[in-house]
Amino acid sequence: MKNDKASPMHYLMILPGVGFIILFLGSSIFLTVCQSFGLFSITGKSSFTLDNWKVIATQEARDSVFFSLKMGLLSSVGTILFTFPVALFLRKGGGGKRFLGSLIKIPLFIPALVAAFLIVNLISYHGIVNEALMKLGLLKEPLRMLNDRFGWGVIVIQIWKNLPFVLLIVMASLAGVRDDTVDAARNLGAGTWQVLINIYIPLTMPGILVSMILMFIKAFGDFPITSIAGPIYPSSISFRMHATATLYQEWDQAAVLGVIIIATALFVIWAYSRLAEFVQGEIR
């Protein structure tokens, strides 16, 4: 499959996609990196300096980075855990499954901000969830679920909103698993669990990987959902970047945080890819 040698034709073919992106983003990334070192400053006073990078040493910046990482990792892993069984279930058609499939996909078409608002409505102090639990006698006092310190509110919203997103990708991947492969394995005596581990997961790994990467990026860099439903402290790294620039007027330090966001995301993506290769390699 992959033994064609690279030809200039191939580079020409990737030019539309990759070229388009670099054309527009190249200067923005370059400027952000420069500003983190004090050059091209938005305030007009530019000089090369490493002082801005000291801001990463502050506790607040680290807390925000770890918080956002946590949100990204837990959201992506959580969603895939929920989604995979559903994808397997929906793989076989029939019996009202199309309707179910459509229903499940609705949150995909609901914007992130709206999704946050809807869920926050439910889990507010005297919201419907608390009232129901109290009526059922399970609670004496309402639970404070909003803006919880750990960030569960955010994770729940991310899973609610993104489950269909991951589902679509995983199902597209599953569609590529041949029925006769599964049948062959079954005929050889493989049990359900073995079929899952040795066939479904490795063959859909590219889809799982892509969806987890995309979900991670969304959750890691999120601003609106975390502003509404996230803990009061720490704030997401995107918010911290925004506050550093506009509240404390430290534009260059904000650029540092920007570089950190980009670098961290790239690193985690690379880590996910290696993990996927490992899982695929191991199981095969």
């Binding site: 506790q59 607040e60 005297h126 803006n147 502003s227 009061i232 506050a243 506009t246």
Partner: protein, 384 residues
């Protein structure tokens, strides 16, 4: 799929014609706005023919005001109600352009410092505006603790106060000690927002500092932070940390009010205009009461500024004059019960009494202290 493609292509071609028009270019004014007479400015504004104005609240009032302006002067108003952050991001992003797309915009909150530091506005305009002397004098000079040097025209005043549910609070506290006692007696029923996310929380912490560190007079007039003066601020943070379990931190100005409405809080700090807006739109129960306690809470207002690279400066000035005219300020007050910036209008029926405003409202301390306060709160209270 096959049928979709030609359809899409047809739409593409069609829309290119429909949507191809870009922003209209306008000629730069021929006159020097700083020395022209007001009549000349009006003529120049009419020649420009349009004005683009950005705000982030009161869509109802601004839409009506825009229609009145168009009727009176025949100048088209491009009104954009956006989001506070987005509006300023746009203004900052366009800073380097010779000609921007925003003519004038509302300026408020933390953005006063940011935009003045970045020198975004054209002016000063206090000598150009015909009714300048009828607008809140203090707001011409200082806004949110920032010296605005006459660049920003006051159009709206607001004030923070204590908002409470009279069904649950029988004796609203007036002094700092009374408030402290109430908080300790009613755990989690008093809340305020993280200062980095809204001005009402900032106002509360501002008063907190007044009462725990020896008053606000010592900071008056400082243009930079004096480290020795903030050395004892740990006393303020201690007050908060000692009763952290009794306090509720909310996520924004509006979140505080929402939580009061939801019954989670019985008392909070809020902006009077926010409260009134939410009440009229059915987002807050009508029995809620508001007052400025004797211990004092800060207030301020919002202003309007003309962008340095505005394409229609004369029209912008005329529009600002329109919004700050007596008729429009009265209209704004009637529509929204929002406090006008003009001092020559009789006011009745506001949430906060005139008495309260005169005696208990306090000014902000200088902006460098405010930024420091916000950062320190995060570091010493929220992080722990």
């Amino acid at each position: 799929m096959k049928k979709l493609l030609p359809f899409v292509l047809a739409c593409l071609v069609a829309s290119v014609f429909v949507f191809a028009e870009g922003a209209k270019e306008t000629a730069a004014p021929q006159i020097d706005l700083k020395t022209a007479t007001w009549d000349q400015i009006v003529q120049a504004a009419k020649a420009e023919g349009q004005v683009t104005f950005y705000a982030w609240y009161f869509p109802d009032y601004f839409k009506e005001a825009s229609m009145d302006f168009e009727k009176q002067y025949g100048i088209k108003v491009n009104l954009v109600i956006g989001d506070q952050t987005a509006n300023f991001n746009k203004a900052i992003a366009e800073k380097g352009n010779a000609v921007g797309t925003i003519d004038c915009m509302i300026v408020g909150g933390q953005w006063v410092k940011t935009t003045m530091d970045l020198d975004l506005f054209w002016g000063p305009v206090n000598k150009i505006m015909p009714d300048a002397d009828k607008l809140a004098p203090t707001l011409w000079v200082v806004q949110e603790g920032v010296m605005t040097k006459g660049y920003l025209t006051p159009f709206h005043r607001n004030q923070t106060g204590i908002l409470y549910d009279p069904d649950r609070v029988t004796n609203p506290p007036q002094t700092w000690e009374e408030l402290t006692a109430w908080i300790d007696a009613n755990p989690k029923k008093f809340g305020f927002n993280d200062p980095s996310k809204g001005g009402s929380g900032q106002s509360f912490v501002h008063t907190l500092i007044a009462y725990t560190t020896g008053g606000l007079k010592q900071y008056e007039g400082d243009s930079d932070l004096v480290q020795t003066k903030v050395a004892n601020w740990d006393l303020a943070w201690k007050w908060v940390n000692d009763r952290k379990d009794n306090l509720t931190f909310t996520a924004s100005n509006n979140d505080s009010i929402t939580r009061l409405n939801d019954g989670e809080l019985a008392m909070t700090v809020a902006w009077d205009d926010n409260v009134k807006d939410m009440m009229t739109k059915g987002n807050l129960f009508k029995r809620a009461k508001m007052y400025i306690p004797k211990m004092g809470l800060a207030g301020g207002g919002d202003t309007m500024g003309v962008l340095k690279n505005a394409p229609d400066k004369a029209a912008a000035l005329l529009f600002i004059n329109h919004i700050t005219s007596k008729e429009q300020q009265v209209k704004k007050f009637q529509m929204l019960n929002a406090y006008p910036a003009r001092v020559d209008i009789p006011i009745e029926g506001t949430l906060l009494t005139e008495e309260d405003r005169k005696t208990n409202a306090i000014p902000w301390f200088p902006a460098p202290y405010k930024s420091h306060m916000i950062a320190e709160f995060v570091k010493n209270v929220l992080m722990k």
